[in-house]
């Protein structure tokens, strides 16, 4: 901050700050957040955030819906990486019911989850590029997101809000075409990512714009409840995939990239590095899947897993289960658990209380965005207005997740 050479008299007009309303539909805020900034020239003196502009009452809806109807709700939490949310929810229910999924299901899930992580990070990093004036990178990366969407389409028929999988596994097996598409992505994406990194990582302008912007120390970050890439950029190697492995993540080798200063540049680098790790995980998973029998794609739990349609027409038992599941009449065991997964933005937790009925007694989502957006005011204090914009996009705030 430059020093003030002239002493201004009390009450002089230069001393007055002005109020700027950033949001909720400001073009610079990707998503609907309102920040009322108190600015002195270009510097931000203080800010106050308002959220809740797309509050949709997920938790209340979840109390009224049978278990399998909650999956579409989880899609809409962090819609940039819906499969992670879907599977996190399935795994929570499976944990409650004590369902053991076969290894192949775990590996297939990991492939999908890591693909989702990549799409999430690439949007975030692309948008950080856009906000610092580099639109090109974003357009290039978006092309590869379409490749991932094609993979989703091949597997579940949907692009963005995937509603992928079931409690116990997947609704249908992966087709050979799906594997081909994954292979294609694994081959083509690294080239583009490399190019993107070459363009951005040591780019003077980009570094000037992001280094030292919105930094946070590890201690503050933990106190603010940061998780995921934003916490790791501050130097804490906390990753749910390692700390509390789920879905056979323990079978894989990967590193957790960490940063040091927790500024926008570090967050950018951490996300890029994570994309490389995800690619390597997908590669490993693809190799592992090949060695397993190729017809296993769900656990054998007829009471909770929707039977195949042909069986519904021919078998009495399948028809009964089908009816029970579709009508939401299959009860779930009572219990209480908190199950976290590593979402693209951080620890996505499902706190589920079941009283043994058809729908949860209470379901609470721990939404990483919501918790770390509190720190935004502190991050941008004293920064320039344009830095605040980059800082917001590099935190990767997703309105759907934030407002629940």
């Amino acid at each position: 901050m430059s020093e003030q050479h002239i002493t201004l008299p009390e009450g002089s007009i230069e001393r007055q700050t002005q109020t700027l309303n950033l949001g909720p539909t400001h073009p610079a805020t990707h998503g609907v957040f309102q920040n009322i900034l108190e600015i002195d020239g270009e510097r931000i003196v203080s800010s106050e955030s308002t959220v809740g502009y797309i509050h949709r009452a997920f938790e209340k809806i979840a109390e009224r819906r049978p278990y399998y109807q909650i999956t579409p709700l989880t899609d809409r939490l962090n819609y940039c990486s819906s499969p992670i949310n879907n599977m996190g929810w399935h795994m929570t229910v499976e944990k409650l019911l004590g369902i053991q999924t076969p290894k192949r299901v775990d590996y297939l899930r990991i492939i999908i989850m890591e693909l989702a992580r990549i799409t999430d990070h690439l949007i975030c990093n692309g948008v950080v590029g856009v906000d610092s004036g580099a639109f090109t990178g974003f357009l290039y990366l978006m092309k590869y997101r379409e490749l991932v969407y094609e993979i989703y389409e091949e597997i579940c028929g949907s692009r963005l809000t995937t509603n992928i999988g079931r409690v116990g596994g997947f609704e249908r097996n992966f087709t050979p075409a799906a594997f081909e598409k994954i292979e294609r992505f694994l081959k083509e994406y690294p080239v583009a990512l490399k190019e993107f990194e070459t363009m951005m990582n040591r780019n003077r302008i980009f570094m000037e714009r992001t280094q030292g912007v919105g930094p946070i120390s590890a201690e503050r970050a933990m106190n603010y409840g940061f998780t995921g890439p934003n916490l790791r950029a501050a130097g804490v190697d906390y990753d749910v995939r390692v700390a509390q492995p789920y879905c056979s993540y323990e079978d894989f080798e990967f590193t957790i990239p960490v940063g040091t200063t927790g500024d926008c540049y570090d967050r950018f680098l951490v996300r890029n590095a994570e994309m490389w790790e995800s690619l390597s995980i997908i590669r490993q998973a693809m190799d592992k899947v090949k060695e397993l029998p190729s017809d296993v794609y769900h656990a054998d739990v007829p009471a909770y897993y929707l039977p195949e349609k042909s069986a519904v027409y021919t078998k009495m038992e399948a028809l009964i289960y089908h009816f029970k599941i579709i009508m939401g009449e299959s009860d779930i065991l009572p219990g209480e658990l908190y199950n976290p997964v590593e979402g693209a933005n951080g620890e996505l937790g499902f706190y589920l209380i079941s009283d043994g009925g058809r729908s949860p007694y209470r379901l609470h989502f721990r939404r990483p965005c919501f918790i770390y957006y509190q720190a935004y005011g502190e991050l941008i204090k004293g920064a320039m207005l344009s830095d605040a914009v980059i800082c917001m996009s590099s935190l990767n705030l997703i309105a759907g997740e934030l407002d629940a």
């Binding site: 539909t25 940039c80 092309k143 692009r159």
Partner: protein
């Protein structure tokens, strides 16, 4: 090494509207010419709040590229835009903001509701979600889907183009239109 220069020869020009033409002149109605011009240079204002907004991102990015339809200029200021594209859930907290944005737009203005949420509230029949934006502002085109595919969004956009192209210049002054706005409490 110099790159070979490429020319895009596949450019499609719009058809000439009906009219009289002779040596050095062409006469037609204002409606048609203005409609033609407006239709192919719509400035959309994306009002993206949630998931559908992400699908809109795909629509305007490389693969689908909505700019091909004359909407190259994505403007974020309501005062200069013709088309308000509402994508995503609009909560009750957001409704006044949306209305404000609509009021700031200059006539003629069009509105597309993209996705189930904007059209009817979608899956969120809850205490906090507005059950369709047509409760606060008039809507011209609804695009179904949760989220609609980019193709569907483009289709919705082309429907708006049709509307824009055919609109009579007098429509906005008609009593019927005023009545419509009045029913939303807009003077």
């Amino acid at each position: 090494m110099a790159r070979p220069v490429q020319y895009n020869e596949k450019v499609k020009t719009v058809a000439v509207p009906e009219g009289y033409s002779g040596e050095g002149f062409f006469a037609t109605t204002f409606d048609q010419v203005i409609g033609l011009a407006r239709k192919n240079s719509i400035w959309p204002l994306p009002f993206a709040t949630s998931c559908c907004g992400i699908e809109f991102m795909a629509t305007m990015a490389s693969t689908y590229d909505m700019s091909r339809f004359g909407s190259e200029r994505m403007a974020f200021t309501p005062r200069q835009c013709d088309l308000l594209m509402v994508m995503g859930t609009i909560s009750k907290k957001m409704a006044p903001v949306l209305r404000q944005v609509y009021l700031q737009m200059a006539e003629p203005r069009w509105v597309v509701a993209v996705g189930a949420c904007a059209s009817s509230g979608g899956v969120f029949d809850t205490y906090s979600v507005l059950q369709g934006i047509d409760q606060v502002i008039p809507v011209d085109v609804y695009v179904p889907g949760c989220p609609p595919r980019p193709e569907a969004i483009i289709d919705g956009f082309m429907r708006v183009q049709d509307l824009v192209g055919q609109e009579s210049l007098r429509r906005r002054h008609s009593d019927k239109y005023k009545e419509l706005l009045n029913s939303y409490g807009i003077q």
